[in-house]
Amino acid sequence: MTALTAETRDRLLAIQDFAIRLMFCERTLEAYRDNPDAALSERGLTPEIKAQLPDVTSPQFLAEARGRRLLHERTLGQVFQHTMQVLSEINDPALSFDAFTASDHFLTPYYALPHPTGTGPGYEAVSKYFFWLRDTAQLRAPTGNAKLRDNVYLEFTAHLMGILGKPHDPSYDRFTGGLFWPLTPGTEVPVRLLSDQLYVFTINEPQKVQQLRQIGLLNLDEIEPAPKNDAGHI
């Protein structure tokens, strides 16, 4: 195949991205349904691209798109059961599942931990969801919802402990023993600890928190997404 020009490559990337967003981003789908030419133009695409795209009003397309999002919602609902209950109490559209699947945290691989199989980041949605919620709900700020913070941190830590119990990518070894976090961001105590045996502790003594660090336990507030995979392409 003749090498793509930069212009052609950019156009095809935009087409691929737009087609993917139609599946996962409700705003993109609605915009395209209401005014396809404008929605395409917003992404730097011209009207003739419509002929390549599926009929987004068809029951088949809607079933597929909805099914893909539902699959993720179910999987994440199993990991973040109590978190989802708290979110339904908060009832903020910015924290809805639709908002997650439309976000860069979900659509890109840059806000995730490496997959336990060793493939690198971007191949599972649980860590994407954690980092998205932490960022979007500003859970590392003192004004963040404390109940939401505690629930999502507990459930994500439990998930990580489950990964440690099976063969896993060595990058997960740093979570051995458990994880802790201040109940109020930016304060030293009290601190919540979920151990690798899934025991929950609340620690009020600063020197005990220091001991946690000394034995190698990490503060979940300080865990960041994995660096970009720079292995390149075949």
Binding site: M1, I20, R21, F61, R68, L71, N229, H233
Partner: protein, 269 residues
């Protein structure tokens, strides 16, 4: 007369026991290992021939195929000395790597055909091994091709690749798009089809048909498989796909029925 091997898909160590028993009972000739496997998994220790397969390379992506993933597949294919590597015609998202879940069908257009041919050619060179390509379940009709089957045939012919015809995915597409059971069979290059996949499916509350490895294949899928075995001169393998968490008893029921269907067309051990 056709002479085909029968195999079972392997995804995780939890299946070791049932595939070993299936081998002992003479029901399978190989396992099809889906890469990447769980960390440190060792399906080769089972002593059963391995056919390499993956659904984790976005062969139709403008970005191309990520080297980390491809290297894991290559390592497995090399260790198994697999006769080919099974790949999907798929997107997995719109980024340079990563996945948004199950395979996402690309737009079936000439430009994405050319991209697929280029990506798969690079993969074939990288693997130093033949490639057989497969479609995922289809819900939406193609736009720039008569169908996804015609796209598959075009990619295979243009790039000189073999084909895995997933009978279940094909029948799911036919049901979802209200097409006849043998739709586009005449458009397929019969001599390129080296493998069939056979699995269960289910009708969802959305009235669409979906892949369902937890179910046994339907009577119709077995019947179609029976007819196809004699239609493809280079058919070599038929893989039974069954969910690791589905009952072991069902696994054996499915394999036994497949063996009955294939009958004396099964290759001698």
């Amino acid at each position: 007369m056709a002479s085909v091997r029968i195999g079972a898909r392997w995804d995780e160590a939890g299946q070791d026991d049932r595939v070993s028993k299936a081998r002992e009972r003479g029901l399978i000739d190989y396992i099809e290992v889906n890469y990447p496997t769980a960390y440190d998994a060792d399906p080769y220790a089972l002593g059963i021939p391995v056919l390499a397969h993956t659904s984790s390379n976005p062969t139709c992506s403008v970005h191309g195929v990520n080297r980390t993933l491809a290297s894991m597949v290559k390592a497995g294919a090399d260790k198994a000395d697999s006769p080919w590597v099974g790949e999907h015609l798929t997107w997995l998202g719109a980024s340079e790597y990563g996945s948004l879940g199950y395979q996402i069908n690309p737009l079936f257009t000439p430009e994405f055909r050319d991209l697929a041919v280029d990506n798969l050619t690079r993969l074939r060179d990288y693997y130093d091994r033949k490639i057989a390509i497969e479609l995922s379940p289809i819900y939406v009709g193609a736009t720039a091709y008569e169908s996804e089957m015609h796209f598959l045939a075009d990619v295979a012919t243009a790039g000189d690749f073999d084909i895995i015809l997933d009978v279940t995915h094909w029948q799911i597409a036919n049901l979802n798009l209200e097409r006849p059971e043998d739709y586009a069979l005449d458009a397929m290059p019969a001599d390129r089809i080296v493998e069939l996949h056979v699995a269960g499916m289910r009708k969802g509350s959305d009235e669409m048909w979906h892949d369902a490895h937890e179910n046994l294949p339907s009577d119709e899928v077995y019947a179609v498989t029976d007819r196809l075995v004699d239609a493809f001169p280079n058919l070599n393998a038929i893989t039974f796909e069954h969910h690791p968490n589905a009952p072991e008893s069902d696994f054996f029921v499915g394999l036994e029925r497949l063996n009955e269907v294939i009958g004396d067309r099964r290759a001698a051990a």
